[in-house]
Symmetry: C2
Subunit: 136 residues, 2 copies
């Protein structure tokens, strides 16, 4: 891994660490300050803008029954001063796939988007022929 | 909408137009040339790199039973030379939420990532208190 990959793997880990610690202040610090942030929690509509995104995280992190997440299989996709990290999330018996989108803000990488949803369990990455309902 | 927003709304529409036309060559032209692209089709594992991503699109676009997609509620989130568009997708009776990531490549915006998954139907964006299985 080169140093930028390492930075992004660490930024991605900090996000899940804040989630697992129920650390609202830590979570807020990880997200970019601008208005163009968004978040798609599994099955939810998109939360748009910092106010909605942070409101959703406060609700989630306040839930005492929330399971902890284990993340794995991170891949870093760097595009200049923007990057996204894809990884698996396992929580509460579910396996999800997440995309976490970061932009450089000063010396650090800040989250501007998180999109998580269901995925297949430990099957191969290579798709079989998709079923009609399994498209796009 | 300013002109960059308009460009990104058009790039996003071109993606769905290529999908609806089953236009493999058009789809290939819309994606960035570099290796750092990825795609998460609903319920699939992530496809990583141009070869895997294009293989998945060829499989999907070859399916004669594939329903057409209607997209709506686009929001543009601009971050320098990168941007993402969030929108709803309706196809085959399902409602999905998609994030489409673009980067500037020469004069155009090229796709570097697509992540789509299930969402709630026409409910409010504002989350109710999440159920324990409905987190992150």
């Amino acid at each position: 891994l080169d140093s930028l990959d390492t930075e992004l793997i660490a930024a991605n880990a900090a996000f899940y660490d804040a989630f697992n610690r129920r650390d609202v202040a830590g979570m807020e610090a990880l997200w970019a300050s601008g208005p163009s942030i968004a978040c798609v929690h599994p099955g939810w509509r998109a939360q748009l803008g910092r106010d909605e995104v942070m409101k959703s995280w406060r609700a989630i992190l306040a839930n005492p029954d929330a399971p902890k997440v284990r993340w794995s299989e991170e891949t870093v996709h760097l595009h200049g001063d923007a990057a996204f990290v894809i990884c698996l999330e396992e929580l509460g018996g579910d396996t999800l796939v997440a995309t976490n989108f970061f932009v450089r803000e000063g010396a650090s990488w800040k989250l501007v988007h998180h999109h998580a949803g269901p995925t297949r369990r430990r099957s191969s990455r290579a798709p079989s022929r998709p079923a009609p309902g399994d498209l796009n």
